[in-house]
Symmetry: C2
Subunit: 132 residues, 2 copies
């Protein structure tokens, strides 16, 4: 299951994920990321698995999941398999929220496009009137 191959610095992980070093430390502090083992008891050494988890976190964020819910999810994840059912429940809830959000966006997109067409035509008309 684990494919921990490298020992990556925080900078490398920042580059790989697009998060800043600040944010990576912050995520660890608030429990979104497990306590990263240290080289010489100070400098963090991440694994490629950690990058995978961080990228998953970023996807959860991008769907609109709150930090609080992500903390809950991360805590469950760390507790192991007996929390699978609860995690599935969380994901199902998220799925429904995302679907609803997309439907709302779709709806608003229609209005935006309607206005673009309407105003776009008016702009064309303005140009004609301005012409000799």
């Amino acid at each position: 299951m684990n494919t921990q191959t490298e020992h990556l610095t925080i900078q490398q992980v920042a580059d790989a994920t697009g998060l800043t070093e600040h944010t990576l430390r912050y995520y660890e502090r608030i429990g979104l990321i497990h306590p990263i083992p240290r080289a010489g008891n100070t400098h963090r050494r991440y694994t490629t698995d950690d990058i995978g988890w961080i990228q998953f976190l970023m996807k959860l964020r991008a769907t609109g999941m709150s930090i609080q819910d992500m903390q809950r999810y991360a805590a469950l994840q760390r507790q192991g398999d007996e929390t699978l059912a609860e995690r599935v429940t969380m994901l199902r809830t998220l799925e429904q929220e995302v679907v609803a959000h997309m439907a709302e966006l779709e709806e608003h997109l229609k209005l935006i496009r309607y206005k673009i067409d309407l105003y776009g035509a008016a702009v064309e008309a303005q140009k004609e009137c301005a012409a000799p």
Copy 2:
């Protein structure tokens, strides 16, 4: 073009739109809503047109447009027809952003569903093992 029929109190507008009175005053203060005329020089009296505009604002917000951009849009709107072209440009930009955002959500939705299926199956397997 205008269909101003009623003179509505701020409370009625709050009820009609779902915004709070606080937020309505805030939106007016920062220029998202034009200065609402007053009854007896104090109490605001909205029109049904105002409600339409506010509902449009709420849709812009729901698409993710920032307050700053909405201020710009509202200012253009008040300047009149010669700003139509610029407003169309803003709407086109917004359209693209919404489309991109929806594509991202769609992508993440796939992952969420994949995990639901995967973990869901694992949960079923757990139940079977627990059974006599």
